[in-house]
Symmetry: C2
Subunit: 382 residues, 2 copies
């Protein structure tokens, strides 16, 4: 990763203490990219499904979808081979179902780390009802990715003898893009070319630029920039913003630090995309109160065609951002570089802020409330 | 519209002066909903196209797409009849083209208020090249919506004798959802049922709740809530957030007020959607620094099915937001109510802040820079 910056001189402070390199070996997250076994396991599972099915649907929400969706769109924008159903809304599910080329040639993987995510059960039950109505055998057309321990979802796969892939126990849902969760749909999409991609991921290394970017994020908070805008322009990077948004918000947005004291304030992540958002929020970013740091991205592996009008459109990024004072430009070699770098940022920032980047007490609290409400409604959940 | 609020007592201030009712007749925006001629004109144009074509693509960006896209998704989520091409990125255009059911049965409307939007020309040129490659006659398959005065796009339609519909001169792009720009694709989608919808729009009225909501937005800024989060849950409302985001950011995010003095600070609009974003940013909103006002929506016209798990999922909204201190719940009777109410908020807030809600000097400045850059690249633009 390479970093370029354009920052207000008058408010830029450099009093953040030097960041020590993270001992990467402490964290299993970074080993995933280099683990041929991890990749091969995803490919084997995908190939097994490819024998009988043309299309794949991932039924899951949050981290169960965001990584794979970002990656599949990167490799093939708007492909019709792999879809992600990340909502329990009937309008959504019915519409996506109607867009399936052929339900009997579609395989559905139900993904939930905990095995107890209610929206995901709603999606699963929707698929079950649809397959049943067509007289299709769900035990052939559905499989499960969850942690290998008793849960509603784990028990269901056991009872019905479904294909199963274990979610790693030591990796949280929002860090699961490079586990079987994110890689299986990509392997299904890419087929034989999948392991070539493994070699590119393998090349990622920690550089000084990564720590400098962490410093810049923290410096931006000192300037009162409480919104960090993640704004890729290229179509292939459309879902990178939402992926970063979850990783950032759940990992860094904490009430208490590791000592139980009030956690430091951090910026909120905002996801924008392409020139469409330039025709939307640019006015406010460029001219109104400067409370934002804008990060934009360049994936160097995306082929550029010179002298093409469409291509020149892409060069508008720096021009559009002309009025924006504080910006970071992050150059990546490949999507894996981007993913691993942001996981590094988040873990490193968590360490510097003395907070736990791996928990999410606020989300858990709402889940408890929601389950209580559901259990009060008799006969709804089987 | 009805308003419910849940606000921190300790910081809520009530010292905003009473808002006088806006003299609606001053603004042409609100007359659109009641103008049968405006609706009929959109329907006639759409019907004329429906005679020969099954599908419609709108080529345009920003306000030329956002209104129609929001509305079409509302009436038929993920329909394959009307698509919106709001990017000049080749990966996007190629992918969308490949998803067309039948290029020769698809009509393309090029939309640009000014008639000089560069991204839109890139999209137009892409369509031209594709139709030509198939030996199809673009003069039958393309039409234009722009202001009725000389411009690159207006001149092009004249020279090629294309179907044409005039963009109103007195309505800005971001306020164009209820003009021919937003209504033509809806009319194409709904066909004969379109004029029934007109009657629902006609019923919208200014209520005290609207002014109260304006007061609440301003009160939230006094509490330091510099992010206004617009968070509908229902699938049908998926694109409402991006539509509001443009309207808000371009209309309220100003450097100078009407007297040339520094404009007052206003919050930045953030668009979230559904329970998917609950599994993403809820942690930070609920537990971290309280610098956000969360607005969520209820469209009362969306049919609810009781005792359905999927339906109960929708009831999670208030539970999920349990940890969020400051929130507004906005109840709307119908999508038209929502659109007109937000246009009212924006014009009213602009008036209260003494800024011009209808210009966008920052965007114009970047367009000038971009055109200069393009003109330096010889032979690229015809």
């Amino acid at each position: 990763m390479k970093l370029q910056k354009s920052l207000r001189e008058d408010s830029l402070t450099h009093n953040i203490e030097k960041i020590e390199n993270l001992a990467l070996t402490e964290y299993p997250h970074f080993a995933l990219a280099n683990s041929e076994e991890n990749w091969q396991r995803s490919l084997n599972f995908a190939n097994d499904i490819r024998k009988d099915f043309d299309c794949m649907v991932i039924v899951g929400i949050g981290g169960s979808c965001l990584g794979g969706k970002t990656l599949c769109h990167y490799f093939s924008p708007y492909n019709t081979k792999v879809d992600f159903w990340d909502s329990a809304d009937l309008d959504f599910l019915e519409a996506r179902w109607s867009l399936l080329k052929s339900p009997e040639k579609t395989h559905f993987i139900v993904v939930s780390k905990s095995g107890s995510t209610l929206e995901t059960f709603a999606g699963r039950d929707f698929v079950l009802a649809k397959l049943e109505a067509l007289g299709l055998d769900f035990s052939k057309q559905m499989s499960v990715i969850t942690e290998e321990k008793p849960s509603k979802l784990f028990d269901w796969h056991k009872a019905n003898d479904l294909k199963f892939l274990a979610h790693p126990l030591d990796i949280g849902g929002r860090f699961s893009a490079l586990t079987v969760v994110g890689l299986t749909p990509v392997a299904f999409l890419l087929g034989d070319k999948f392991m070539d991609e493994f070699k590119k991921a393998d090349a990622w290394q920690v550089t000084r630029d990564l720590d400098e970017a962490c410093e810049e994020f923290m410096a931006s908070w000192q300037r009162g920039e409480w919104q960090s805008i993640f704004w890729p322009y290229e179509e292939k990077l459309r879902y990178v913003g939402p992926w970063i948004q979850q990783l950032w918000a759940e990992s860094l947005g904490k009430k208490k630090d590791l000592n139980g004291k009030n956690a430091p304030r951090v910026s909120s992540p905002v996801s924008l995309h392409g020139s469409k958002d330039q025709h939307s929020v640019l006015q406010q970013i460029a001219e109104a109160y400067p409370d934002k740091l804008v990060c934009f991205f360049n994936d160097k592996s995306i082929q550029k065609e010179d002298k093409d009008l469409v291509e020149i459109m892409k060069s508008q990024t720096p021009i559009s951002l002309n009025g924006i004072v504080n910006q970071l430009k992050l150059d990546f070699d490949h999507i894996w570089d981007l993913f691993l770098s942001f996981e590094y940022f988040i873990i490193q920032l968590g360490r510097l802020l003395n907070i736990d980047p791996f928990d999410q007490p606020g989300v858990e609290a709402s889940k408890v409330l929601f389950k209580k409400r559901i259990s009060e409604l008799e006969g709804v959940l089987k």
